[in-house]
Amino acid sequence: MQFQKLRDFISNKFFVIPEASSSPERYKALRRNITILMLFVTIIPLALMATINYYQYKNSLQSEVINPLRILTNKTKLSFELFLEERISTLKFITSAYSYEELNDENIINDILIVLKKEFDGFIDIGLIDDKGIQISYAGPYSLEEKDYSNQPWFHKVILDGDHISNVFLGYRKFPHVAIAVQSYSDDSCCWMLRATIDTKKYNELIAAMQLEPLSDAFLVNNEGILQTRSRLFGNELEPCPIEIPVGGGETNIIEATDNEGNEIFIAYSHFVDTDYTLVVVKPSSLILKTWFTFRTEIFFIFVGSVLIIMIIVFKLTDIQVNRIRQAEEKHELAFRELEHSQKLSSIGRLAAGVAHEINNPLAIINQKAGLLQDILTSGSGSSNSERLLKVTQSIVQSVDRCSVITHRLLGFARRMDVEYEELDINEVINDVFGFLDQLALHRNIKIERKLDDSLPKISSDRGQLQQVFLNILSNAYAAVDEGGSVCVESYPKGEENICIAIKDDGKGMSKEEMSRIFEPFFTTKIGYGTGLGLPITYGIVNKLGGKISVDSEEGIGSTFTICLPLKSKSIKIENNE
């Protein structure tokens, strides 16, 4: 229902072209409709294609770019974890390989540090801490013996978990480093631990190994959002990270976000399992989607360019097309006028013979009566003459009247061809036309039946044009019937707005094929003497007057032409509206 309404609305709004031919509005509307339609059918598929391309390309590009990012992030995280694991294992090995007493020996612990530094990257110092948190033995560049760690949170964590990797801190050493502590599980003593610090240089090396593009960034951040390594974008170690990283999950995730400068970025992050580190890789979308942006710009320009070209072509084409239609219609109208004119001339020609006959008869009477007058006057006898003279002159006057009726009709018929509306009685028009044809009917013994409805309202139409219409159809009817045939004319109202005139003959009728062609110009069954213009012209006139003409015929039985005319002609209505 809604769809139907919409369609009606659209068709009413856009596809109604004013009927009045050759008005500029009509061509404007035509031009508008063709343009809209053509733009619609060309631009919609283009836009659709561009949009689909856009999204498909975007998706494929994203997966192509994002997957490697995910893999890289994951790999690097594993490297980090491996690195830390290695360090913890080393310390654990030391705690089980050496006893508390051995480690308490300064020389031994120094030896161990030397070996560690040699074999493993990043160790700075190493210290032995007893169960009260006091560092009782230390090897390294600082003198941190007897330092009390019992208040530090990591100390308790080590006691609980067995090992601990701290966040990056500056500590006494004033450069970023990480402390690793493991608890000893040896049987002979309890609860001492080994603590070592590692330089974060190794962290930076691991990140550098990712070989990121210059605009990208990768760093470690702890659960509090403090940077653990230097970030190219967000500052140095131990500064808070301005972007928020979602917590939880061991796997690598990628999210889209905007940085504090409003640039779109991709963030790949992966939480470490054992420590509260998160590896974050930041890539600006522009970098990832550089090709995408190029593509998007290309597609945009191609689309805009195509639309522009289409529009130019559509406008040009429509212009040419509408102008052609206009020219064709003007030509058609001109041709129709000429046709109408020539048909009028031909019907006048056809009439002429009949009219001449009609005029000649009263003229012959006048002639004879006048001659008789002369005869009487020259013989000049008798008093009864005055009465005879009166009769003769009366007869002359009557005959002259007859002539003038005929000539007036003929003049009326030959009048100008433009439509001129007046209030007229259709029956009167029909009777007028019969006046032309009475003689013909009489001589051919055609029975005329007139069933004219006297109560018909007057219609507003053109008398001359209607006369031509009825004359054409009636002369066809007369031509179709045999001697002694009959023609019936009936007028009747149809609805509130129309009146109809049916002209029925019992002549030879028409075949279906003929019937379908009778309104075509130059189609004629009167080969040799028909112009083939009568009915097309009639059709044209009836249309012009806002009426309709239809035909019904059966071969051998007869034909009926029905003409329906509006009480008020359409073109008048239009004029009134404007």
Binding site: A353, A356, H357, E358, I359, N360, N361, L363, A364, I365, I366, N367, Q368, K369, G371, L372, D375, S379, V392, S395, S399, Q439, L442, H443, N445
Partner: protein
């Protein structure tokens, strides 16, 4: 001057009656028929010398009346007088043996002139025929009387 018997056939009553009256004023006999049937009936009763015949009439039209007159009364001269001035009709009428084809309106003197010519034509033919008949050449006499018909039929064949 001898009196010519004229039959006037026309459906225009005013015209034909006035014409008859004027012909009578000129000392000829004139009878009036308003259509073809009446004309043929009058012909049966009293054979006129000349028939003045209209072409377009209700019922039997002038051309048919002419045909029948020429068939039944070859001696009767027929002058066509009509408002219809088509050449086609004129040729047809002449072929059928009409003496003359005249167009309305015509003044009475010209009409009477033609009537007299027609009468003389008939008379002359009769005289020639009579001469031949007296000489015993009945065939030639018949030929003369039917000459016009032959001519007409010949012309028809040519056409």
């Amino acid at each position: 001057m001898e009196q010519i018997k004229i039959l006037l056939v026309d459906d225009e009553k005013e015209f034909v009656e006035t014409l008859a009256e004027r012909i009578k004023l000129r000392n000829h006999k004139a009878e009036v028929a308003l259509d073809g049937e009446e004309a043929l009936k009058l012909l049966d009763d009293d054979i006129p010398d000349v028939v003045v015949l209209d072409l377009k009439m209700p019922g039997i039209d002038g051309m048919e009346v002419l045909r029948r007159i020429r068939k039944a009364y070859p001696k009767v001269q027929v002058i066509m007088l009509t408002g219809h001035g088509s050449e086609k009709h004129e040729i047809e009428a002449k072929e059928l043996g009409a003496f003359e084809y005249l167009q309305k309106p015509i003044d009475i003197e010209s009409l009477l002139k033609k009537v007299k010519l027609a009468y003389r034509n008939k008379f002359e033919k009769s005289m020639v025929a009579a001469t031949f008949a007296e000489a015993g050449e009945f065939d030639t006499a018949k030929d003369i009387l039917k000459e016009k018909d032959k001519k007409a039929s010949k012309r028809k064949n040519r056409v």
